[in-house]
Amino acid sequence: MLRALLLTLSVVAIAHAELCKPDAQNAFKVRISIKTALGDNAYAWDANEEYLFKAMVAFAMRRYSSKSTTQISNVLLCNVTDRVSFWFVVTDSSKNVTTVPGSEVEAAIRMNRNRINNAFLLSDKTLQFLKITSTLSPPVEPSTPVWLIVFGVVLCLIVAGIVFLIISGIRKHKKKNKESTERENLEEKVEVTLENGIPCEALDIKAGHVNGVFAADDERFTSL
């Protein structure tokens, strides 16, 4: 009796070893980077964490196929390294010593990726299922692009400024025209004398001196 039990156990163990090994059919490699994700709050990867992992995979399989036949014992882990990385397979309890097809496992994991990540406080990048590509979340896009809104605001301000300046310029021009026609009727025109293209009053601000020889002009000519 005992011998038969030992024999079946060893057969099961060998069968399991056959099912779960690196690059086995329907096996997936998992890579976990706890220290990168959590830094000082990192937990150690031990047998309890492995148990949680098996439970999460079983949960994912149950949710996906909606039949409650997958047990935690159906999930086999092997080749755990220090990295932390390991391989796992999901066995089919109904059919003896076979593994659930990889496509089913992949679909199940993809459907429940978020839940699995959160159970370990990790993300898609730090809990990697190699060969299972994750669906990247698209960036949030508002209905109108933000830049158009800012552009519209600036454009309105600039156009308002231009219109204001033009209108005030036209108004000033009209006022000046009215004033100059009034003034022309009353006063004489004052001409600005030019010397070599430079208005005279600009020249004698600094360097011009009154030349004494010509200043006393009225004395040179004898009065009549």
């Binding site: 669906t135 990247l136 001409e191 293209g197």
Partner: protein
């Protein structure tokens, strides 16, 4: 009744206008590149020598001519000698070409500014591909900042021949940029004088903020040490001196007629000698200041990339050999690599092509200039800072202020001769003339918003102004010194300022500066002739990098036209005046 000329409200407006015009994008994106290429801190020696030999004298010359003649470039040179009206026309033509393509930079700055109000910044991450399993292919090959610049901003085509269509987003930004310029020049000096207070001072505020932020960034010191270590052996390289001379020349904006236009609105007794020295010194100091900021940003970016590279290698090793996390760090990386190579030679050999040799010097050595520096390198550095939106807004606002300040000078160079000429000014008010100029430039500028627009931009940037300006300034200097006469010029300056220019100014005007310009001119001509076919950098989307291509025939024709259009004005102007005088003399002789 003679309308008196509009004036600046006070000399400070004039100084600010000159600073705002001279301190432009070249100080931010060209000088740091030159400093890095030609000997780091040692480049300052030829730079300062050229400033004294070429920059200050030529600046003083232009300001004095403008202030004395009180006319725009065409009128001023006509007064000096009627045969030189072609020089003024050439200046206006070059300014016109410049304003056509320069405002596109402001459009790009607006685009980036408007996109800075998002979290995360749009150039921080790559967009996803169509089935959401990974990132866009083109973005994967290059970086997200380059992708944003080449694909989402420019939507660049693979070559010059494939023109593509006008990008409506860029066209909108360009229209906005021209509206802003129109708003600033609408009233002439009355409006420009107020605007330059902002455009001249705001860039300095932002540069100071960036200096403080830049120096406190992790790894900034690496950049500063690497860049400023003088490599004095570069001083024996003639290209160093030529680049210094070229940089001083183009940085001050000589020959466009803008300085003449600005100075023509001065009081005749304004001390333009003092102002010339102040403006040129401030321009050079700003260049050096901006390069300190740029080098600290470079250092930060290079350190960040170096550390990312190291982290990638560490992750690769950890994953391949299933080592414990934290066993391989940046410090023991080399020892671990040797150990792994010895213990698992086969697997390591398989992995070897993927393991990159990360080098900080290689990252620092990537010298970039022009739009690449301003829009790619800086935005890459900004996205890694804290509160990137704030720094992004500040930075692109500063670029805008610098660009608009220079645009004000360019448009002044075009508008002043137009408003001076009685034929045009009597018929149309100032607002209409400015409006027409802005409108025409905007329509032509739509070429640069097409998919191949950036290639045309590079053509204009490299060839529209370089040779023509050298020739124009050469003719200006020779005209003032030898045709007008340096003694007559001395007397004019004495009348205006009250002191005669001393031997330094006269020697520089008469001998040193013309010789320098002639040597620069000869160098550029021989360079163009020796290189044979001209080439350009085209963006290859499949590889995700720039490739070199030859210009097609019609592009070469356009380049030739650009250079000829401005340089031919000088002899043509002299010829037309000569013919006109001949005809007048014959008419008088037949009448008499």
């Amino acid at each position: 009744m003679e309308k008196s000329r509009p004036l600046w409200d006070n000399p400070l407006q004039f100084v600010f206008a000159c600073i705002s015009y001279a301190v432009g994008l070249g100080n931010v994106w060209r000088f740091p590149y030159l400093c890095q290429m030609y000997g780091g801190g040692g480049f300052l020696i030829p730079y300062l020598i050229m400033l004294i030999a070429e920059g200050m004298p030529l600046l003083y010359l232009e300001l004095a001519v403008g202030q004395r003649m009180r006319q725009g470039s065409i009128g001023a040179w006509k007064i000096i000698s009627p045969y030189l009206c072609g020089v003024g026309v050439a200046s206006v033509v070059v300014s016109f070409f410049l304003s056509m393509y320069y405002n596109v930079i402001n459009a790009w700055a607006f685009w980036y500014l408007f996109h800075s109000f998002q979290d995360p910044l749009p150039w921080a991450t790559c967009p996803l591909n169509s089935n959401r399993t990974g990132y866009e292919e083109e973005c994967e090959k290059t970086s997200s900042t380059q992708y944003f610049w080449y694909r989402q901003t420019l939507n660049i085509s693979p070559s010059l021949e494939a023109s593509g269509s006008v990008q409506w987003e860029q066209a909108l930004c360009l229209t906005l940029a021209w509206l802003v310029v129109y708003l600033c020049i609408l009233r002439g000096t009355a409006s420009t004088g107020k605007v330059v207070y902002v455009t001249a001072s705001l860039p300095y505020c932002v540069l100071i903020i960036y200096l403080i932020r830049g120096l406190t960034l992790h790894g900034a010191v690496n950049g500063l040490i690497y860049m400023f270590t003088p490599k004095l052996e570069q001083l024996s390289n003639p290209k160093t001196w030529i680049s210094a001379a070229t940089q001083i020349f183009f940085s001050l904006g000589l020959g466009f007629g803008s300085l003449i236009a600005f100075a023509s609105y001065n009081e005749p007794t304004n001390n333009c000698q003092r102002h010339a020295i102040i403006v040129s010194l401030i321009n050079s100091t700003t260049s050096i200041f901006a390069s300190i900021v740029t080098f600290s940003i470079y250092g930060f970016k290079a350190t960040f990339n170096y550390e990312s590279c190291i982290n990638k290698v560490i992750l690769l090793l950890l994953n391949a050999f299933d080592l414990e996390e934290g066993s391989v760090t940046a410090d023991n990386l080399n020892e671990m690599k040797d150990y792994l190579m010895a213990t698992y030679p086969q697997e390591y050999a398989q992995l070897a092509p993927q393991i990159k040799n990360c080098s900080l010097e290689a990252e620092l050595d990537t010298a970039v200039q022009g739009t690449g520096l301003a829009f790619i390198v800086y935005s890459e550095a900004i996205k890694n800072m804290e509160v990137p939106q704030l720094y992004s807004v500040l930075y692109f606002f500063m670029l805008l202020m610098l660009g608009i300040g220079s645009m004000l000078g360019n448009t002044a160079a075009i508008l002043t001769p137009l408003t001076d000429s009685r034929a045009i000014a009597s018929r149309f008010p100032k607002e209409v003339i400015s409006g027409v100029v802005c409108f025409v430039n905007c329509i032509i500028g739509l070429i640069f918003t097409m998919e191949a627009g950036n290639y045309w931009f590079d053509i204009f940037n490299d060839y529209a102004a370089t040779l023509s300006l050298l020739l124009i300034v050469l003719v200006e200097t020779i005209a003032v010194c030898y045709i007008y006469g340096i003694r007559r010029f001395e007397k004019d300056l004495y009348t205006m300022i009250g002191c005669k220019p001393n031997w330094y100014w006269k020697t520089m005007w008469a001998f040193v500066s013309p010789l320098l310009i002639i040597s620069l001119f000869i160098f550029y001509l021989t360079d163009y002739i020796l290189t044979g076919t001209l080439q350009y950098q085209a963006w290859d989307a499949t590889q995700g990098q720039l490739v070199t291509k030859d210009y097609p025939g019609y592009a070469l024709a356009v380049i030739g036209l650009l250079v000829a259009a401005s340089t031919m004005c000088i002899p043509l102007g002299a010829l037309v005046t000569f013919i006109r005088k001949r005809l007048k003399r014959e008419r008088i002789s037949t009448v008499a």
